[in-house]
Every structure is written in C-alpha cells, then in structure tokens.
C-alpha cells in the first residue's frame, strides 16, 4: 500500500510539472488556491480547498478534476476513480482529460484492475500519441499486465512448457542467451511439436555466439523448426543468413528466395535477394525488388543503401544520388528527434 501511495505521488508530481493550461495567476477562488496547493504538493490543503469548491459549484470542472487527482495522489483511488473516469471521458479540456486519464490508469493499476488500466492506456495513446507522460504510463501499465499474467502462469501451470518458453524469452531480454537456450531446450523436451521453440533456440544460440560451431547448431534448430512448420519464412531466412556467412551464397540465395515466396513482404529477405542480385549484376531483377522494399518501408536505411548501390552499379547515378540523400536524411534526422539527440551528444563537451 505504501508503495502504491508513493507511486501515485510520484506520478502526480510528474503531472504537476506538465500540467499545462492550468491557470497560474494569483489565486482568487478556492479552486485556484486548491490547484496551486496541488501543484505544490500540499495535498491535504488542496483536498480541503477543492472539496469546498465542488460543494459550492458541482459543475466546476477544474475543481472536480483536481479533487480527483488529489485523491489519487493521496492513495484514495476508490473515491477518485469515478470522477477520473468521468473527467477523462467527458472533459472538453484536453489537458484536464489527459491528466485525469493518466491518474485513472495509475489508480486502476493500484487497485489491481490491470485489464481496465490497459484499456485506458490504449485510449490515452490514441488521443495523445506523442506525449512522453502518456507513453511512460502506458509502458508501466503494460509491464504490470505482463508481470501479473506471468505470475499467474507460474502459479497455475508451473510444469507447462510455456513457463520455460517465457523464461527463455525473459532471459533473452537480459542478454543471458545461454540461460535462454537452456530454457528453450527444456520447453522442447516437454513439447517437441510446439512451434517456434526451435526457432527461438536457434536465435538464442546465434545471439550467444557466431562461432562456426554455434552457426552449425543454430542451423540445425532452424531446420528442426522447418520440419515442424515447412512454411516458416523466418526460419528460412535465418538459414540463408548462416549459409551466407559461411560463404555459401548460392545456397543462401535459395533460402532467401523461399522466405520471400512464403512472405512476399518480408523486407530483410527481399534485401538479401536484392543484394545478391546486385553482386551478380542482375540489376533488372534486383532494382524492382529493392524499390518495392523502399516503397513499403521508406525509413529503412538498409533498403535505401542497397538501392543506392544498385542504381550506382547500373549507371543510374541521378537515382543513386537521390537514394544517398534519402539515406542521409534518415541518418541525420531533423533536430529534436531522439536518435539525433543521441548522435549529437558526441558534439557536446563532456560533463564533469
């Protein structure tokens, strides 16, 4: 409970900073005084002032919203949820609706109603797609939902191969690839016919090592996946990559082409086929394929680069230069984008 209240307070503190549109002029009314008290973190005082304001005028939207936010911030979610839901759904002020939605999602998580919290997070994301607070709250809600579902699975079906599969996937996110592979092997032992386990095992082996031995082991796993599911384009593609790395380009090409047949919109497979066609000077086949990838994925740097090289090698220099420019735009996005921010860090004097 203490942790939930603290989480709510921290969340509300973040909202205060970003509570744009809230009047900050010299406080006149109880509502204004209450909002300022809320913003300063004086929740008891805010609660009293805002309750007075709502009693005086039940239609005071600001007072009702901030009273609910104050209650949420002080751990009184059961009293706050109804008003927060109403304010999130009904408020004509997008800033107030956003604040109410964020607090509502937090409250629902606190109350253990993760399913509803996920729903609210989804609505928030739809209405405020570029809002960092909204995206942060959505990430937390989904993480909570993931943790809840995982706990239930471990409690209710501890012997299931799915427990091992999920454990493997979690180990992968922690870069513990050997442990992940061990879990996938246990899962395969429990359910040898289950799809995707051999694929995940093969991938974990590759993430662990690219030694020739690891490549051979991984290839066996992808082949085992294909034995269960002959039409798995990802497994075909992985085998192609392993063969390519081993210098067996023609064999690799067959697998890349099969992957592309199975999944015509598989960009990596299309790029792999396109590149090999370029190396073989088969530009008439390569260029339309690469153009298709660029059209489908205009932000795909690898596709622009491959197409640039194809145009260059086929003597279409104007088109090659155009692709170079597109690539440059993607690699050096306009100021303000996160990737550029990361890149520009290199130009700053280091902090002490």
């Amino acid at each position: 409970m203490m942790r939930d209240i603290r989480a709510a307070r921290v969340a509300m503190a973040a909202l205060m900073v970003t509570a744009v549109g809230v009047p900050l002029m010299e406080a006149q009314s109880a509502t204004e005084q209450g909002v300022i008290a809320f913003q300063q973190g004086h929740y008891l005082q805010a609660s009293r002032l805002l309750a007075d304001a709502v009693r005086a005028n039940p239609h005071d939207e600001h007072a009702r919203t901030f009273l609910a936010l104050t209650r949420a911030a002080t751990g009184h979610c059961p009293e706050a949820v109804s008003d927060l839901t109403d304010r999130f759904q009904q408020s004509g002020d997008p800033d107030l609706a956003r604040l109410a939605g964020l607090a509502l999602a937090q409250c629902l998580v606190t109350q253990g109603d993760t399913a509803k919290a996920v729903s609210i997070a989804g609505q928030l994301e739809a209405r405020y797609p570029d809002d960092a607070d909204v995206l942060y709250q959505a990430a937390r809600v989904h993480m909570r939902a993931f943790n809840d579902a995982t706990r239930r699975m471990f409690e209710k079906t501890p012997a299931s191969y799915r427990v091992n599969q999920l454990s493997g996937e979690i180990f992968e996110t922690e870069n513990k690839f050997a442990e992940a592979a061990a879990e996938y092997r246990k899962a395969i032992e429990k359910n040898p016919r289950a799809l995707n386990l051999h694929f995940r095992l093969g991938r974990a082996i590759l993430l662990e090592s690219h030694s020739p031995e690891a490549l051979a082991k991984a290839q066996k796993e992808f082949e085992a996946e294909l034995a269960l599911n002959a039409e798995d384009p990802a497994a075909e593609f992985q085998i192609g990559q392993i063969l390519d790395a081993g210098g067996r380009r023609e064999d690799a090409l067959a697998h890349f082409q099969k992957a592309l047949e199975l999944s015509p919109n598989f960009p990596e497979a299309a790029l792999a086929v396109g590149r090999i066609r370029v190396q073989d000077k088969q530009y008439a086949e390569a260029i339309p394929l690469l153009e298709r990838v660029v059209a489908a994925q205009p932000r795909n740097e690898a596709a622009h680069y491959s197409l640039m090289m194809a145009y260059r090698n086929s003597g279409q220099m104007d088109k090659a230069r155009r692709e170079q420019q597109e690539l440059q735009k993607l690699q050096h996005p306009p100021e303000g984008e996160f990737t550029d921010f990361l890149k520009r860090l290199g130009e700053k004097a280091p902090e002490k």
Partner: protein, 542 residues
Amino acid sequence: MKAPAFAAALALLAAAAPGPDFRDIGKQAGLTASFPNGGATSKAYIIETTGSGVAFIDYDNDGYLDIFVLSGDGGTNRMYHNDHNGHFTDVTAELGLTSSGWAEGVCAGDYDNDGYTDLFVTYWGQNRLYRNVNGKRFEDVTAKAHLTQDRVRYNTGCAFLDYDGDGHLDLFVANYLKFDFATTPKAGSNPYCFYRGMAVNCGPRGLPFEKNLLYHNKGDGTFEDVSERSGIAKAEGHYSLAVLAEDVNDDGRPDIYVVGDQTAAMLFINQGDGTFSEEAVMRGVAFDENGRELSGMGLASADYNGDGLLDIFRSDFSDERSLLYRNAGNGQFDDVTMAAGLGHNTRFVNWGCAFLDFENSGWKGLVIVTGHVFPEVDRQNIDIHSRDRAILYRNTGKGAFEDISEHAGPAILERHSARGLAIGDIDNDGTLEILANNQNEPPSLWKQSHPAAGHWLLLKLIGSRSNRSAIGARVVLSAGGHTQVDEVRSGGSYLSQSDLRLHFGLGSAVRADSIAVRWPSGQKTVLRDVAADRILTIPEQP
C-alpha cells in the same frame, strides 16, 4: 588475370608444401620488454583501450628491418636494431628515442629526402616528428617543423603521402576525439558507458569529436596545416582511427581512406588541385551492406583477386563483420565480405591487419590481430574475450579466402590483447614475418618454421624526382602469366608501419616477366625478365 598454367603450377605447389607454421620468436629475438597500455583487467578511460602501433623500418640503411614498438603511458617507445642473426638489440636510448606519454600510431617516410627514413609518432597530446640523422640518432623536430598542437587532441593513425606531387612527403593525421582525464565521465555514468550491461569506460559516443589534419610539407623542413584549405576538415563527426593513403581510383594521385569508431568511414578523393572531396558513401566504402556505421579499427589494401585493382579490407568491432571492399574500377567499391568467405568471424574485436603472401603463392592472404577493448568482458563467460587469438586467411586464388587460423601454427593461437600489426621480412629470406603490439606484454614476432614454398621478389624503390621513400609508387608485376599490383604505402594497418619494400610471391615462377613502376612523379620504369628470389633495388631515373 590468372592463367591456367600458373594455376596448375600453384596447385602442385600447394600439394607439395606444408601449410604455414607461425612461431613466436619474439623472446629469443630479444623483444622481452613489456609495453604498458592501461589496465589489464579493467580500463577506467578510453585512452587505455586504443593501444599502440608498431613499425618495421630500416633506420640505418643496413638492408635489414629494425623494429619500433610504441608504448602507452608508463613506458617508453623502443627501437630494436636488427643484428642480422635473428636477434634484435634495444637501441632506444642511444638513438634518442626514449619517450613518455600515450603513444598511439606511427608512420614512416623520408620527409626531408636525405636518404634516411624518418618517423612520425602520434600521441594523445603532442605528436612527435623524429628526423633520422644519418641513421645514427633521431632528432625530435616537432616544434621546428611547426607541428605543435592542442594537448587534448587524441591523434591516432597517420600516413606520409605526397598529395600535391611536389616530391616532398606531406602528412595526414587522424584524430579520434577530444579527450581529457579531468572532464571525461566515469565508467557507468551515462548510457555510453555500458557494454552488455556492464559499466565500462565511456566513449567514444558522448565524447567530443575531433577533426583530422593534413599538413603540407613546404620543402624547407617545415609543415603547414592545410586541413581547412584542402577540404579535409570539412568532414566532421567522425571518431577516426586508421588511415590508408593510396591511389584508389588509379588516377596517379594519392587518396586517403579513414575508418573510425561507430561512425561512417571517409574516402577523400584527391582532386589534383590541393583539395579533396569526401566520397565514401557513393563509392561504397562508408558502411556495411546495410548502410550501417561500423567501428573500423584497421585497414589493409591489396589486389586480392588479381584483377589489377587495389581492394580494401577493414577490421571492425565484435558483433560486426570486418569488411572486404572489392574495387570495381574507378575507385568504386562493392562489399564482397560474404562472397569472399570473410563473414563468420564476428566474435573478435579486430585491430591490426595486413594482406601478405605468406606462402609466396602469388595470392595475398590476410592476417588480423584481435583483443577486446573492455577486459571486463571476461566476466561474462561468453565467447568474446579480452585476449584472443589472431585470424589467418589463405587466399584461394578464386576470389575467396579460407580461414586457416586453427592450423597455421601456435603463434596464431596465442591469446593477446593485440593492437598494432606490421609485416616485413626481417631476415631477407623472402618469407614474411609478422610483428604485433600486445597491450601490457612484450610484442609478438611471428616467423614461419619453414620458408614459404614459392619464389619471391622484394622490391626496394628509391625516388629521385619523387619523394625518396617512393611512397605512392605503384608496381605492376607479371610472372608466370599472373599479374599483381601493389603500392608503396606509409602507415596503414592499425596505427602501424609495415616494410616500405614491396613483397611479391611468384609461385613456381623463377623469373618475373616484367616489373612496371609508376612513380609519384608520373615517370615510369619497366624491367623485364627479372630473376626471382632476391631483393631488387629500383631507383627512379633523375
């Protein structure tokens, strides 16, 4: 192109000869001093990671290669004189080369055309130009030559080249970044200070970029910084490490290729008017095949496929591929790494690299030394190690390479955290040796236990109208129907200098049918019917 008769002869040769068997003779040769280079089990700052280069030069013109090894802070660079008997003697002090500080790279060239090879050593801080005084001592002429600079510069690779064809060697110096102990963040203090979840030393991302430098040799013993005027300084935002100066588009003028850490590589095409145009992306040497920036460490060049064009190999970081760019003509390159069979060794951090014909077959193989920048990686129990073995590829003669690392002698399998690498023939027997700088250890000197099977020629070029070192001279040699091309280069590999003499394996051919030299001056020399298995000095006609 390869002739059938030559290929058949090669096949016979390969069947008869044992494979290469490299042994480390460093200790018995007298290379026993250890060279400090930052922490061995943990590194607090990026300056400890980049290590130092090595050089094979004949400083006293006695016809035998001497060895120069650079040191990190806490030691001195050392020159070892070749005693002509398999042993080297440390002559550092008597030559005036005792030093301190973080030495990074070395390149050689006779910048004053007095007949003795001079040395340029790059540093974090002040670089040093050592003028070779009659092979008897080296004089630090840095200030006199107008080469003093800002102390936070982190200079790395370097190369002498005569970019304007005036017969005087100019100087290119790559710069990694601006580094200062006082202001560089501590390990783990920002997202750029982690590797595989471990807090490690910070950088290069997050540290300020630095520009590369081009100095013009004024011919009076001084240099002038022409980085801005030449267009070199226009290329910003790179963490530059290795330099390859050669004529990539075969127009008779030296170009400059630079790879760097986590940033696109640069290819400066010499415009012939004192300026350069950076064209790496369109020429196909900026990225990998995905258009992705890699961490380029070392550079090597050779005509690996016998088409008369110089191709480029770059060594890269672990989890990246070290790339082979095939020269398709006119200085345009294609990434042929996978097709050439070089795609599988991605667990190593690769550094010094060189093409070398270790069998004298007429086809140059490839050697790479490795070692991780984060010793902390050993705690992870994965197959990436702070000290690791080298990689040796045999050139199949069919446009591809075969990894023979596991079967090429114990030296290749020794585990070191190696950085600089150079190639040279220390005993003039036509079989090449390999020198590597190992962090916090003595250097490695690898020699084969038996001579290479094929015939050979070692060419020493001496310029007259061109620079005396003949740097930039291009040689086309034909023997037994097989034509090879190479160029005299300063710098290269990773911060290192290989033998300035050009080595050619001739396979079963006992004579070279022709040797054509195109000097930097534009002059040409052609020799015909040259007997093999010897060192041949070729002077440029005045």
